[in-house]
Amino acid sequence: MFGLIQNELLVIIGRWRSYIGFIGISILMPLILWGFVHGSNELHNDYARELGGTFMVVGNIFNSFLATYIIMNTLWIHIPFLITLAAGDSVAADGSNGIFRITLTRSVSRLKILVSKLLATYIYTAALLIFCAFWSLGVGSLVLGTGDLITIDNGILILDESQAWIRMALSFTLAILVMCTVATLCFMFSALVNNAVGPIIGTMFLIIISYMIMGIPLEFFEKIEPYLFVKYFNVWWDAFKDPIPWGEIGKKLVILGLYSAGFFGIAVNVFLKKDIKS
């Protein structure tokens, strides 16, 4: 299995499309950080004004943790798109490029091939988010410095620097797991069709439609909300609550895990029976 995953990673690394996400983040993050450096006084004043009635703010509350916290809140539509660029290709591209005529005639089971493709997609997903963390936390720390993290959770929550590192690591770990669900959804579409564009459109369509449904304050939509997997995407946010709601996190991860298992189950069911005609 390790060899198969290695193969899939080689393919991902060799495709220029895989780098779009990394290039995008490399352009976006410095821009955001540059914006934060130049607008940090403004943001600091806004925060200080809101907190001023209750707290006496000493020093600068704006640092890489707060910047990362803000960035994470803004990127959750864009990151899935970047992930789908690689996940959409994972099965469909091999079909459309005729690679399956070579790989599926070898003495390796289709299930093993599919599992290795999924795991490679997960590794790519994790790498993209770690890269995101590298920019916002790593480079951000050098540019904006570190300090306490001020977040809002039923009021103001101040986490000291050592806690902030832990919470950020937890938050990114949860974000990776959330994005793995997105990757699995896209992977499922990739196993259903023979072109890489369909899975990207299908995945983004489902995510955007689900967010739209969640945003409509009608009883009917509120009833179906618990069945929408995007409802549980905010699990990474739980890392910044105090105390950390492990039970809630566990429940959300189980639900996302079940969705992923369902998506993968469909992919397996289709792929194992698929006639390779092209």
Binding site: L4, L104, R106, S107
Partner: protein, 301 residues
Amino acid sequence: MILETINLTKSFGLRKAVDNLSLEIPDGAVYGFLGPNGSGKSTTIRMMTALISPDEGEVIIQGKSVQANGNMALTEVGALIERADFHKHLSGETNLKMLARMDGTDMSRVQTVLDRTGLGARGKDKVKTYSQGMKQRLGIAQALLSDPKLLILDEPTNGLDPQGMKEVRDLICELASEGITIFISSHLLDEVQKICSHVAMISFGKLITSGNMEDLLKASDLLMTEVQVDDAEKALKLLSDIDWVHRCDAIDGILKVGIGMEKSSELVQLLVQNNIQVSAVIPKTSLEDLFISKLGKESQI
């Protein structure tokens, strides 16, 4: 038998692509698989290599059912199905290493098969820089990677220039001489006749005939005979009125006459009686003749 298909049937919608097809491929044979376009050759080969599931019947390779064992039945099989496609952004060598990793094949085999297929010097180049012929040779290289006992080749010379076709043909003959069983479908009857020991013909998914090539040609109803005469034009004119002569052409002064097996001495007698000197009579039924006689003139391979 190294490979057997038993009552293999596959439909796509209402169209029956392969209909109750049973074949037996003996160990060590070079087995030609012929049929007109759309006759079900590729579908049959894809069922043999687990790319397509049959609706009915099964494929047995070395005693193992492909349908029951899936790809595990293909342990000692190398296959090249139609065009050879690889990851174009990776080198030929990397592509082969990936496949070796899948099979659990020793990495040293990669260079061996690259050298064997004449790609040793180009292994490190990206596949997108390869010509069609080189890609096809890389396709054969990947099929040889796991040192197979059975090679299944679907149109391996498609898209190759005459030199490339000859190279592939020579390679197939070389592999056959080493005892590898080869199952090959090809458009080129002449090529199949040159390299195959056995042949099967299908039409509309059904088996028309199969067996040892020599025996089939001998048993053909239509004996094609090459006759060397001093006046081909006169002979052609004479034979065109004879009812037991089914076909008659003159190519480069040599007559090619289609007659029944028992009529060859009568043919010579007739020509001599009409003052046409006969210097040679060579019974030479070609696979093309056999193919046309079995499938009809409308057959287009």
